[in-house]
């Protein structure tokens, strides 16, 4: 057994795990079927499980060959790799599989992505167990979304990305063509200021207030997010992408139109 897997096993034993009670039919080992179960859609099924997991869970996926992938998921993100069957990991990727996906933002994710590719290729019947992990802390925003993991695949199998994340960057472009006023900040530095001067004055106040209070819980300037704040008089939009903060003066109809595009 490779040293990395031994390490994973020793870590597993220190974690108290409870089976989740979600009312699904289970086999003797606590696994339930995971739809869609057909082989070509395995990655989609895994993505669906991850994207539906908000509270900390250990998701254990198995196939008919008894291959196993166990991932710690919180807030729809993979935070840790608990276990991956050695059959799923090519020799040359074993050394790269760091247990902590969060820390291993490079090769570790790629190794995981390639293992999932292999898993999907070997799977026609997928089952899942969703365990509640007692000692894993509270909800956190750390971790890696499934789409980011798939983006790191080296291309063993060409499967369509199961998650089609709506792009904030493309919506920013759409807003820019329709907004009354637009401002862009690189950190706190104003880079772009364009549009109607009256609207820009108000937008400037909004932008600077948002940047000042961005540490506030509800102020959505986290990466790749977008937020419209609507009053009776104005609709302000703030968005964050590529480490820049974007601000728009708009209206509800435009906001609805652009955000409704899927």
């Amino acid at each position: 057994v490779p040293q990395e897997l031994k390490n994973l096993s020793s870590l597993s034993s220190s974690i108290a795990i409870l089976r989740s009670d979600d009312g699904l039919d289970r086999d003797a080992h606590g696994y339930s079927s995971c739809s869609p179960p057909s082989g070509g859609e395995t990655l989609e099924a895994i993505a669906q499980e991850i994207n539906q997991t908000v509270l900390p869970r250990l998701l254990c996926f198995r196939n008919e060959k008894q291959d196993k992938v166990a991932l710690h998921v919180t807030a729809r993100r993979v935070t840790d790799v608990e276990e991956i069957s050695s059959e799923l990991m090519p020799e040359n990727t074993l050394m790269n599989l760091d247990k902590s996906v969060v820390v291993a933002q490079g090769q570790g994710i790629q190794a995981l992505a390639n293992s999932l590719d292999t898993f999907a290729a070997r799977t026609t019947q997928l089952v899942v167990r969703r365990d509640i992990v007692k000692h894993r802390g509270s909800i956190s925003n750390v971790g890696v979304p499934f789409a980011a993991i798939l983006a790191n695949r080296s291309g063993l199998t060409q499967v369509a990305q199961p998650v089609s994340p709506t792009s904030v960057a493309s919506r920013i472009e759409a807003f820019r063509t329709e907004a009354r006023a637009y401002m862009r900040f690189d950190v706190d530095q104003l880079v772009t200021r364009e549009g109607d001067e009256t609207a820009l004055e108000k937008l400037d106040c909004f932008a600077r207030a948002t940047l000042t209070h961005r540490s506030s819980v509800g102020t959505p300037l986290e990466q790749n997010s977008l937020c419209a704040i609507i009053t009776l008089q104005n609709t302000f939009v703030c968005a964050s992408a590529d480490n820049d903060s974007h601000f728009f003066s708009s209206d509800l109809a435009t906001v609805s139109k652009i955000l409704s595009q899927s």
Partner: protein
Amino acid sequence: MQVMDQTKLAQRLDELRRSYPGCETVVLVDLSSQMVLCTNSDHVLAQEAFDALGAKAADMFNGALSKSEVFGDHAKTGEVISQIISMNEDTAEIQVFLRSPNDPIDALCCICVAGIDLVSFIQSASDALAQIWVEAA
């Protein structure tokens, strides 16, 4: 929030969500206490998830940004935050927060999938919020 029939309240939230299959979760929150008053969801969500949604709504409507010079002087600017729509690329979901115009401590928090008709949904959600207030009066 005035006292109201919990069955009617649950019925209003259920009607709203059933009218819009793209709406997965609806939560009525008391912003002053961040207390979740009623929920309706497609998914089995733990109370912590609902509480987090309520806390976010309270912070967005009543937090530091709402007290900044842009929104803080309501009488002068009329800039009271009434609706908030947010989306995150990673989760690909849209969150809609509506504050009750009749009782500003009440807010409806909704989680929707991308692609929902937001104009129509927001109108219906506003109507539901107004109806809830009428029935509580």
